[in-house]
Symmetry: none
Subunit: 192 residues, 2 copies
């Protein structure tokens, strides 16, 4: 795309590598922006120069937003590939997740918290909610209404079983990738 065709391999000359980096980085971010606008897509780009300088683009206010969505998406894919999910289960998954969320937050608040579990669990909760949100976003009206009605019934009939449900611990060990993302607790430890 210039006077000469360049092979796609590391540019050895330091100066032209730097110049090319500057030009292509700008081009990449521009393309990312265009894609997000033209196609109404959410796009995030992170670039670190080989000397550690950061450049980024996000189609939303915060890049983190998209990253979170990425994590939950990966999370969701893992779940759906693991279980061949029957329709009935997945249909109400988002709202079930919210109910679980509710219970977890309750426990979170009512039990003594030691160590950094609060931070870690917040991350987990956040992922769960994000997943629920993704699913909710792509639902259509009828599904949504059905779900709501169904949910109301569930709530009504489940209220009595509260104790039982609370006894059922959420299995966070299934969230391996998510917890790998959360090295924040470690980072927090570094402050001390």
């Amino acid at each position: 795309m210039g006077r000469k065709k360049v092979e796609i391999k590391r540019i050895e000359d330091k100066h032209s590598r730097q110049v090319t980096f500057s030009k292509r980085r700008k081009g990449l971010l521009k393309k990312a922006k265009e894609l997000s606008i033209l196609c109404d897509a959410d796009v995030a780009v992170i670039v670190f120069s080989n000397r550690g300088r950061l450049y980024d683009f996000s189609s939303t206010n915060s890049l983190t937003e998209i990253v979170q969505r990425y994590h939950s998406h990966v999370e969701a894919e893992k779940e759906s590939s693991a279980e061949v999910l029957d329709t009935e289960h997945s249909k109400y998954a988002s709202f079930m997740t919210v109910r679980e969320l509710l219970q977890t937050v309750e426990r979170q608040l009512e039990e003594p918290v030691v160590d950094y579990l609060s931070v870690t669990d917040l991350v987990q909760l956040e992922n769960q909610l994000q997943t629920a949100l993704m699913q909710a976003r792509s639902s259509k009206e009828k599904l949504l209404c059905e779900e709501n009605k169904h949910l109301e019934n569930q709530i009504a009939t489940t209220k009595n079983k509260r104790e039982v449900n609370n006894g059922m611990a959420l299995d966070f060990t299934n969230l391996a990738p998510a917890s790998m993302n959360c090295r924040q607790p470690k980072a927090t430890l570094n402050f001390l």
Copy 2:
């Protein structure tokens, strides 16, 4: 870059938006790869189509790696820049938000839901939790423990006031910047 020059604004025709998305996405990911190879840079790209499908590129084995580097980079910058925030106020902000979240989710689940309020509210909740998360992540251990103890007391003493608290509507208007991010509800409405 084609037969005609295109303005950079949302493509209204659904079909050509989809086609353009497909082509430009491929182009973007290719450019990202080239940049990372040519200039020995770390590059991560995340793309969500407007229908929620995920596409990504990472110059390292895991995209998460780069994301983490991004977070530490941002964290480091944040710390080096001034922290103006009033300590007393921000101290418990994250956990207060979680408590509000709890109440809101409860209402969400126990009240009949009409229209798309459920989706919209989920977005709000998501933002609140995100805010809580951000703040929690940057807390230090002592703060965290203090908060937890304080919180436990609050919970204990607040339980009786439940009714009153539920009556107190959350003021979402304070979340202006966050809610501006959420154009998804609009997008969701378009499906219908």
